[in-house]
């Protein structure tokens, strides 16, 4: 049975080849359409996949961003609380310790002064973070580790540097325990990170923006940066519709309701999440009772996926091109249905003869679907070539930091061929059904 099935399939495949040879132009057109449609989809999908990826899949439903409305209904954006916290709320949240871990983050820029005269000073982007940061986001260390809660309390002059900066400054050697000079102050290196750059870089996207570029080179204690009056090298806003209030000195910045600190909490279970939501609500209610907020609690708690969506991380160009290329594939498919119909119906006499000689409807189905699959496969192979070509030209369409992310890997190759075969088969369903309806007697009687 099996060998018979295989030989039948080979026979159908042979028939398909013969028919392709007979109507070269039509076959070429279908293959070309499928190739173009699939390749366009795959190239845009590669970009979309990279930008819409879950940066921490094993933990993304346990990490949450708390939002507390410190602007009030008159100054927030369409009723939504700001994406970051004020210093007051951030510190309160951090001290409350209601979550398994809590982290405060703000983006900052530091000048690295070399010890010798040969090297030039350089400006490095970093994040001021509290000590739970490394454990919460599973940052891998090459040497050393993070700092302790005690270091946070003592505002210690410690720093964790990226592998890139370690390479630049120390040639990649274990630099734990050595000192570097940042903004004319000495810092002790306690850890060197492994190559680590989550994409999108979700944890500081609210503060630093640039989810796909500007990798962080250093991490310092949040409390130390605040002590040094280190300004946020990122988003800082006090209202979405009025001018920032007077902030004549650092203390007034800290006391203000301006939003500039990104906060994260780790909540392992659903019960934790529910409990935290309540706590957040109660905190805002307490602030209202104290007279700090003149509005009822307006709080949010979003996990990583929701947060990235809220921050509009996926570039508009990427989403838009995905829509356009899907429409393109759809139109190609409609086209292919028509062409397949023409192809199959042109062979109505042949079908009539085969049916008259005893071929069942089922075998007609099998024959024509085999033919469609073969054409789909050819379209897929062409699609592969065009996808590879498209990936090479991707830099002309997307910004370099986005284009860099899109990769042509095995899964994409497989998906290209699978999509081509599957869509061609779907497109061939109706034409095949029509072919199977051909009456043997009628075709023999009339001229065909």
């Amino acid at each position: 049975m099996v060998t018979q099935g295989v030989s039948l399939l080979t026979y159908y495949f042979d028939l398909a080849l013969r028919s392709c040879r007979r109507s070269k132009a039509l076959t070429a057109l279908v293959v070309l359409l499928m190739g173009c449609g699939v390749a366009t989809c795959m190239v845009t999908f590669a970009v979309f996949r990279a930008t819409a990826a879950d940066p921490i899949p094993w933990k993304s439903n346990q990490l949450f961003v708390p939002q507390i409305d410190s602007f009030g209904p008159a100054h927030n954006y369409k009723g939504e609380p700001p994406g970051m916290l004020s210093y007051t709320d951030a510190v309160a949240l951090s001290h409350a310790r209601q979550a398994r871990r809590q982290v405060l983050i703000y983006a900052s820029k530091w000048t690295v002064l070399p010890g010798d005269a040969q090297h030039l000073p350089s400006s490095q982007e970093g994040d001021a973070v509290s000590h739970d940061f490394f454990a919460m986001f599973d940052a891998p260390f090459r040497y050393g580790g993070g700092w302790s809660a005690g270091d946070d309390d003592q505002r210690a002059a410690v720093v964790v540097i990226s592998s890139t900066l370690n390479q630049q400054l120390f040639g990649g050697a274990d630099s734990v325990g050595r000192e570097i000079n940042l903004d004319t102050h000495a810092y002790r290196i306690v850890g060197v990170l492994d190559d680590w750059n989550p994409s999108p870089r979700y944890f500081d996207v609210a503060s630093a923006w640039y989810p796909f570029s500007h990798p962080r080179q250093l991490y310092l204690p949040f409390s130390r940066a605040i002590d040094l009056q280190k300004a946020a090298a990122g988003n800082f806003y006090c209202s979405t519709n009025t001018v920032d209030p007077d902030l004549p000195n650092w203390d007034s910045v800290l006391r203000s309701n301006c939003a500039w600190i990104a906060a994260w909490v780790e909540l392992p279970t659903r019960a934790d999440v529910a409990r935290y939501r309540d706590w957040l609500h109660n905190y805002a209610a307490e602030q209202q009772r104290l007279g700090r907020f003149a509005w009822p609690p307006n709080v949010r708690l979003s996990d990583v996926g929701q947060w990235l969506q809220l921050m509009n991380v996926v570039p508009k160009a990427s989403a838009l091109s995905m829509i356009v290329s899907l429409s393109f594939l759809l139109i190609c498919l409609v086209n292919v249905v028509g062409l397949m119909l023409a192809r199959f119906m042109r062979r109505a006499p042949e079908i009539g003869v085969r049916r008259a000689l005893g071929a069942s409807r089922g075998s007609i189905y099998l024959q024509f679907l085999t033919e469609a699959a073969a054409i789909g496969l050819a379209g897929g192979v062409l699609g592969l070539l065009l996808t590879a070509l498209g990936m090479a030209g991707i830099g002309h369409v997307f910004a370099p930091e986005i284009a860099r992310l899109a990769m042509l890997n095995a899964s994409l190759l497989l998906l290209t061929v699978a999509l081509a075969v599957a869509t061609t088969l779907i497109a061939a369903l109706y034409p095949t059904w029509r072919a199977a309806q051909v009456q043997p007697a009628w075709q023999l009687k009339s001229n065909g």
Binding site: A25, L247, I331, N335, V397
Partner: protein, 418 residues
Amino acid sequence: MQIRPILAALRRHKMATLLIVLQIALTLAVVSNALFIVKTRVVHLSRPSGTDEAHLFVINNQWIGQSDTPHIDAQMRTDLATLRSLPGVRDAFASQAYPLEEGGGGLVRIKHRVERTTKAQLGLSYFADEHAIDTFGTALVAGRNFRADEIGSLGPYDKVVPVVIIITRDLANKLFPDGAAVGQRVYLNDASPSTIIGVVDRLQGSYAGSSTRSIDEDTVLVPARYASTGDGAAFAGGVVYLVRTQPGQLEAVLRSAPAALVAQNRMRLISPENGVVTLAQARTKAYATDRGVAIMMGAVCVLLLLATAGGIVGLSSFWVSQRRRSIGVRRALGATRGDILRYFQTENALIVGIGVVLGVALGIAANLSLMTHYELPRMPLWVLGVGALLLWLLGQLAVFGPARRAAAVPPVEATRSV
């Protein structure tokens, strides 16, 4: 004339007809929206900045270990004197941002009166001095330039309260639609009043993105040197020196200017990667996405039209081959070649016509949904008209080949059995 027999024939090929109609409709919907996106992007990226871009560059300068305003201000004066005296430099000034930077500039709210209830006009500001207009390369169209004694010195915690300002013509027209702006007083950010002393022709703000598109040419020049120490509420990133060179001197000055600054004082940081940026480079970078989207949409449009044309050729050829006998009969009964040719052309025009009607509805629906999700403006109907005309022409062109083959069918075909 031939509509009835065409309709009768089409009724026998319902599915194939429906497929072409559907394809025409989808193509029109996608192509018109894509062309419209291309048009908005091209308009966006071809806007002039109002500056002498070919001879303008900026130096992003960060201070190291300097934290008091008077000290930095003095350094900025020295730097500006150094830059202006360099051979090949036409003029230079210090600001916090530059055109096409995609950020950096200050957002200001401008009001006629100080009352809370008055609606404010938004604008984008540059810190400037008496050399700014000449450095930008824009022209004063009314009033006068700043005087050297009007340039203030600002620290990170200071509020911007200029006594005099210069604004662009675009902003002047918005603020004072029926009169001269020069001499008028306005309130910046609810502070004390500022007098408009001059109006410049055209000058783009520092944001090139889509969110500030409506105010990109509403620029305010604030007479001040801003000494950013890296403290304060938000980090302003040191100082930006804008330098305009003499014709043909750009390349030389790009190298000599940062070197001269470092030679004057080493305690500064001019990044080797992005410390020195020409306006031409800034333009390429700022509009990279716009250009990319336009290329992508344009390519998809071309492919789509080709695919549709291919589909029409394919299906028409099929129909012609199926109807060879009836064509032969018609020819035998006295129809001319022209009649047969016209038959297929009319049939195609009819099908495309139905597709276009459906496509216009689909196109408008697609535009409406894009408007809500991607901040696209409303598509004017003429875009759909152009798309429809394009498809109709394409259809006629695509069907011409098969139709000519149909017309070539000899009358004797009527008597053949296969």
